[in-house]
Symmetry: C2
Subunit: 504 residues, 2 copies
């Protein structure tokens, strides 16, 4: 049998949710086709020496309004994934020179900055978007009279924490869309595999793993032909849940793709007819894709303080930053001056901020998880494990020192060792940016982008060709629960179409 009511492309959380909701009603036949050899997409729980890690999405964000979280809360405790609110304390800021920086008096300025951005772009729709970098310098410059030297020096270090939310650095991040509204606390999920298994359980027999869709073709009779590397299928409705990054290369013409590397070719889907103009334009001119990466450092046992659950390693701030800001005669001079002081660089791990989760506090595990951003991610994900260790060693030791520990001892070869110092036993590095089925982490905005355009175009869809995923929704964009909601939305859309006028 190859004729289906609905074919869902992708078994990430949006595809699983759509499939499950469709199957829960008597909708006819449904199949969910997944390229990878596992379900979950950008939710992926790996097991290391010390336990499990979500190397992709790992939080319940917005726990006041997160539908997936609220659904979990309705379940008996043993059926839901455990979680820990890990943003109840303020993240530590660690500076290369002085170690732990007192951030209390900076948090207030961070809020002032966020308000400044909000007010600037709410004033009118025509206010020009600029990079987050320019916006940070602009704020510091305009308020410099009201900032102490210490505040002026530290604030950019703290403001860059936002890079680790979006997965792109401040030079490439949109200022206008940099703000993140938190609808409630964030809970670290322990772990997403449990949630995925729960959603997938009733539909395991509907999922085909390790099968790649290469073409979706609309036929004259209104049906769709879905061609994979293993065969062909027909359906009335097709829900495409591949990442925005993969969808984008589907807009590029064959000629263009041929000269690209194999990775891209492997994931690309050809659409016939091509994706419509609204979708294509939004994908290629108004949307971007970031690359949040993770590096897990596993140690023998916890030999550092578990007081702080999250640590922001600050970029190395040039000594004459304050002087540059104070002596600038106008904003452009200030920006040019700071650009010169802080050129883009991957030279070492002090050039860009790194965000560490101290799992000693969160889960009593002897592991530290680094979050990194584009372009650091692309770089680090190409390194060997030894190179990764070398790259992070300076910041990792500074972090450990700041948490009252000595420098660590590396033992990646597993020679039995004893030491008072933390012994690094294993490193796990994400590979989202080189993975052909993700090509990065999740949607992000670069200056001039407008995420609404893509969301609207993909919500309208293209007839019975539907779209779901974190990039197709505003509330929960970039989040697991947003993807989950979008799967629910598309299942509902099809159910309403199918059952209009019937009992449904």
């Amino acid at each position: 049998m190859s004729d289906y009511s609905v074919i869902v492309i992708g078994a990430g959380i949006s595809g699983l949710k759509a499939t499950a909701d469709l199957c829960a009603k008597d909708v006819g036949s449904v199949v969910c086709i997944e390229s990878r050899d596992r379900i979950g997409g950008r939710l992926n729980t790996l097991t290391g020496l010390n336990g499990k890690y979500d190397i992709g999405g790992s939080w319940h964000h917005d726990t006041l309004s997160n539908g997936l979280f609220l659904e979990e809360m309705e379940l008996p405790e043993n059926e839901r994934a455990a979680f820990v609110f890990d943003d109840e304390d303020t993240a530590c800021l660690i500076d290369k020179e002085i170690g732990v920086v007192k951030v209390e008096q900076l948090e207030c300025l961070k809020r002032e900055f966020e308000k400044y951005v909000e007010m600037k772009y709410y004033e009118s729709l025509d206010v020009e978007d600029v990079s987050y970098f320019r916006l940070c310098v602009e704020f510091c410059y305009k308020r410099r009279q009201l900032l102490t030297d210490e505040q002026l020096f530290r604030l950019p270090q703290l403001l860059r924490h936002i890079e680790l939310w979006h997965g792109v650095d401040w030079y490439t991040l949109s200022g206008k869309w940099s703000g993140i509204e938190h609808n409630g606390r964030n809970a670290l999920v322990l772990h997403y595999d449990k949630i995925l298994a729960r959603i997938a359980k009733p539909i395991y027999d509907k999922i085909r793993l390790s099968e790649s869709v290469t073409m979706v073709k609309k036929l004259l009779n209104g049906k769709y032909e879905v061609i994979t590397d293993k065969g062909k299928y027909f359906c009335d409705y097709c829900i495409v849940t591949v990442p925005q990054s993969v969808l984008t290369i589907s807009c590029e013409d064959d000629e263009q793709v041929r000269v690209e590397d194999d990775a891209k070719l492997r994931a690309r889907i050809s659409f016939e007819p091509p994706l419509n103009e609204d979708i294509t334009e939004a994908l290629t001119t108004k949307s971007s894709f970031g690359s949040l990466g993770k590096v897990v450092f596993e140690f023998d046992s916890v030999k550092w303080s578990d007081e702080c659950s999250r640590v922001l390693i600050a970029h190395e701030q040039p000594k004459n930053f304050v002087e540059t800001m104070r002596s600038a005669t106008d904003l452009d001079t200030a920006i040019a001056g700071v650009e010169q002081l802080l050129p883009k660089s991957l030279e070492n791990s002090w050039k860009n901020p790194v965000y560490f989760l101290n799992l000693a506090k969160n889960t009593n595990t002897a592991s530290l998880v680094a979050l990194i951003q584009q372009p650091v991610t692309e770089y680090v994900e190409t390194l060997t494990t030894d190179e990764v260790e070398l790259f992070f060693r300076p910041v990792l030791n500074k972090l450990l020192n700041s948490l009252n520990s000595q420098d660590y001892v590396s033992d990646l070869e597993g020679k039995v060792q004893q030491s008072d110092a933390p012994i690094l036993k294993n490193i796990i590095t994400s590979n989202w940016s080189s993975d052909p089925f993700s090509l990065g982490a999740y949607s992000a905005c670069k200056p001039g982008d407008d995420p609404m355009d893509l969301v609207i175009a993909l919500n309208v869809g293209q007839g019975n060709l539907r779209f779901a995923g974190e990039h197709t929704i505003m509330d929960g964009a970039g989040c697991a629960y947003g993807a989950w909601e979008s799967g629910k939305r598309e299942a509902n859309y099809i159910l309403e179409k199918l059952f209009t006028g019937s009992d449904y």
Copy 2:
């Protein structure tokens, strides 16, 4: 001469600004009539033993968008009032039993609560307003599964800090309008008398102090007759800047007022014709007035820690609060249970939160300033100085103890003493609630109010009868700069009317 182009009633900051802006243009004759023997209205700088205190408004709020602050910043430093950002650190929370409470892990919940309120009332215009008290209990109840016992116990203590923004207690404060958006940090002004003097300087000869307006009457020729206790005047335009509280009693008919106390009678203005229906309805059914009070405690010298600039004294939280919340089977039970545990009370100073400014940190002064709310304010403002000292002694000593000091020694009679303990030399208590020309502090919202109604009605005005003041504006409502902006607005309105078609 008694015939004016414009008469401004009230020499608070809105009246002063309106007068100054009118006089800066060649608008004809202007007079500003003020009941009190001083300018400034609810901005009032008093001098005590240790220095000056703004016993009324005392901050530049919203320093990103505060027009008055930004104007000050354009002046040479010696011409503007000094100020200190005093919200850069987190306020301490002090509990009767344990002293200083670690609030870091509660601040995150405070933000979650604020978001909860925002989301609840943004959902639809029809969501019923309830008291801030009910809203706090509702949040704690609904999220109780996600709160530790400690969080559940402490959160209501922390959430009540908002009472000291609005000047009313949580039972009488509107939940819907409780949120405060901060457009930038808050700066304590040192002091407002300097700003007032600057604004008033060019118009001192236009201000008549100690003269009370009793009636404003529209004449058949379109002019207004303004009758005071000293004479009568005529004008083309009249700007009424009396507080909302005073305006409200002008809506009550004579019969009703006669039975009220003298205080009210002294400030009332009769309008002929009466204030229109929109204004009257908004004043009497959709608007309320709070009563933020201040008590300054002056000591001989700083014998306590200056680490924390602001301290919230928490209300005494009953031991079985958590049990009551956890055992409640529904929200109504929870609310009824908490109401029983926490009845309204003025029995002692532990029954309601008190907010202290530690001027040792802010201005290196040996003074502590208590901010209090309705109904505490009305009560305290009727006490003798000795009674005030007795009332606050318990919380004041707990505060001093928490700041590493011993109990204070009272020396209000000024006998020369020496002591290692702080010696209380003087107490200054505000009297806004009994002052006939303020009858409280500033506008506030009680459940069911809608501040927009009054702002719209007073912005429309009543022909050439215009209104200004903190209660006539949305951005900056309740703030000095809001009042100032409203004075500017009304001056502009009249200037545009007068000069339409001319060079202006």
